[in-house]
Amino acid sequence: MTASQTLKRLVAPLVDPAVYDFWAQKVHPTLSWDRCLARVVERHVEARDTVSLTLKPNGLFTGFQPGQHLNVTVEVNGVRLTRSYSPSDSLHKDGRIRLTIKAIAQGKVSQHLVHSCQIGDVVELGSAYGDMTLPEEPHAWLFVAAGSGITPIMSLLNTLTQKPLQQPASLIYWARTRADLCFSEALHKMTENDPLLKVHTVLTREPNRLENELDGHPRESLFRNLVPDLERRRIYACGPHGFVQSVESLLADKAALFQAEAFSPSPVVTTAGAPVNLFLSKSNISVQIPSGVPLLEALEAEGLKPAYGCRMGICNTCSCQKQLGTTTDTRNGNTFSEPGAVRLCINSANSDLTLEL
């Protein structure tokens, strides 16, 4: 522990983090007692609807490994929203991070980051997670990416190619059209510098394809043609839920190792009464409850005793943090997919849920 950490521990009982942050941020916008805040210092248009933002985090950032993801929290119209984004480069020496974000139609956070976020804006970062990282020893690789799934893979490739490759590596990269491709130039340079690296692009909606560009959806023949030694490759795949699922069914049992990360949520259960899994993260309990029933009642039916008062949504006694999943307000039928406070007495489950209870 450093001297400053020890000092911080000693004075902690006297400090109200909110008050500290208020005054500290008059001095510098990313200073905070306990939150990792980062300032946007650079913005670069990467492809159609896609920008890269370079962030400078404060001293509370604990770093990441190439291939990992960060939870990014931004305030959009007064509401703090959290989404995962993957650094698209290795950690810069000066502590900066580069994220690459593609705007999704009607996407709350991605639209904000791509179109409204400006240099000087501050976002909050969570700690890095994900295990699609690079092991110490060299391997033969196949990376499969679709759309914004290229971001963590770009970070992996940037790191891998810092030294000459010892084993072959391939990237097969799906996008709609050429205008949607990110990092074309950087990828081109990498292949020029290292003959063991091969990059193939597949464009599903490009009217004027070039000779070296492929088309169509993932299929076994395509993988076999491009990567004849599939069996010895370690495969990392990244992209929307449906894409990742189809690649997994094609390749999972044919390669040395298969790992995948889906970037879009899987569809939610909506039939009322269907059972959903509820995980209570503080007490480390998992239970199955019916969807559509107020959570307070459902928990009580399982023999649990969450705090409550009015049982009608007034007093806020039963409120607790929802970390994951979708709930419905039983009073008006509105659904909420964001993490945040939910009142157990007037919200029911709509999907699997994680509650901080």
Partner: protein, 371 residues
């Protein structure tokens, strides 16, 4: 006093309760207003509450700063006033409203109703129970809403007179000066201890969070800041005492004006049986009264000047009550529900009248079920 008596009599004319079908439609209109406001929450509300937060911080720092020069009387006066204002804003427009969960939708951990703590001796946890739960759910139901006279005052003819109440004007004054303490210990039920229903050990256990919080507050205001001032210990000490006193008197006045003016009604426990949404709304309106006045009055009262709207929509950001109140009034008018409001002077005189009048014996009036 006779004129006030007539207002009570008149009162019965004002409270023609709409029938159940009307009340259902009445409730639906208020629900719709609630939904409209909820969908409109955003940037503007976030900016507002952060500005209030900033105002609390700046007034506190400037107030405490000036008190260090408190030997110079103008600095002491302005410093004390600013610190008092800071505490009022912290307790009312910020703390009270945030603790209701009015800003939970922002998802900002610093403004979360569940964890927010305020600059007052009572713990926020305790408040969540007595106020958010008991008082807001059981508003003006005799025997359930402990805010009716706070267990020491007789404010309604529906409370039985006992000789103890003769001294009520004095208790009321002491209670006002020490309001934050009264509210802080409200839930501890010392009565049960004195009646032997609770052991000393149990009592002590229940008091722990309160003792911890109040120790922290006392040390802050009466030890740490005066000590920092060194030779100016005394002016800082007295300034802090006065600032807490100002806050106590002000909050007492606002809160009493919210529920103890001449026209408000009490309800029997039986109303709870199958109470519909519309009936619940009706009870909230009949049990509350508003203050008319300037924007400043609304902010300094944490918008509890819109007590009626606060009771209808306790989880909607309070600075919205002003605009909502216009629609609530129109709805009430359409259904012939009396909407009680008036300037601070008028409303507070009625409160004082209740305190004085019901310290004296009066005929015990049992509560009518269909108030």
């Amino acid at each position: 006093m006779t004129s006030s008596m007539t207002s009570v009599l008149k009162n019965s004319g004002k409270t023609n309760r709409p029938n159940d079908t009307q009340l259902a439609a009445f409730g639906a209109e208020l629900d719709a207003l609630r939904e409209r406001t909820l969908t409109d929450l955003g940037e503007r509300d976030a900016r507002y509450i952060r500005r209030i937060y900033a105002a609390v911080r700046y007034t506190e720092v400037i107030g405490r700063g000036l008190l260090f020069f408190g030997l110079f009387p103008p600095a002491w006066i302005v410093g004390t006033l600013l610190l008092g204002i800071s505490k009022i804003l912290d307790n009312m427009e910020l703390g009270h409203n945030v603790i209701h969960g009015q800003y939970d939708w922002m998802n900002d951990p610093h403004l979360s109703g569940k964890t927010f703590e305020w600059d007052i001796v009572g713990t926020a946890d305790h408040w969540r129970k007595t106020h958010n739960y008991s008082h807001h759910t059981y508003t003006n139901i005799k025997g359930m809403d402990e805010d009716i006279g706070y267990g020491v005052l007789r404010l309604f003819p529906e409370q039985r007179w006992r000789p103890f109440f003769i001294g009520q004007p004095i208790y009321a004054l002491i209670f006002a000066l020490l309001f934050q303490w009264g509210v802080a210990i409200q839930d501890l039920r010392f009565g049960q201890y004195f009646k032997g229903k609770k052991t000393g050990k149990e009592m002590l256990e229940e008091m722990k969070p309160f003792l911890k919080k109040s120790r922290r507050q006392l040390i802050k205001d009466y030890v740490i800041f005066p000590l920092i001032a060194g030779p100016f210990f005394l002016p800082v000490f007295l300034g802090n005492l006065a600032a807490n006193g100002i806050r106590n008197l002000w909050t007492y006045m606002i809160i009493f004006c919210g529920h103890f003016t001449a026209d408000v009604e009490l309800f029997p426990k039986s109303v709870l049986r199958n109470e519909s949404r519309g009936q619940w709304y009706y009870r909230q309106i009949r049990g509350s009264s508003n203050l008319t006045g300037s924007k400043l009055l609304h902010i300094m009262s944490g918008n509890l000047s819109h007590q009626i709207e606060h009771h209808l929509f306790p989880d909607i950001p309070a600075h919205r009550y002003e605009e909502m109140s216009r629609e609530v009034r129109a709805i009430c008018q359409r259904y012939g529900v009396h909407y009680n409001r008036g300037p601070l002077i008028k409303q507070f005189s009625q409160v004082i009248w209740r305190i004085l009048r019901y310290s004296l014996p009066s005929k015990y009036v049992p509560i009518k079920a269909s108030a």
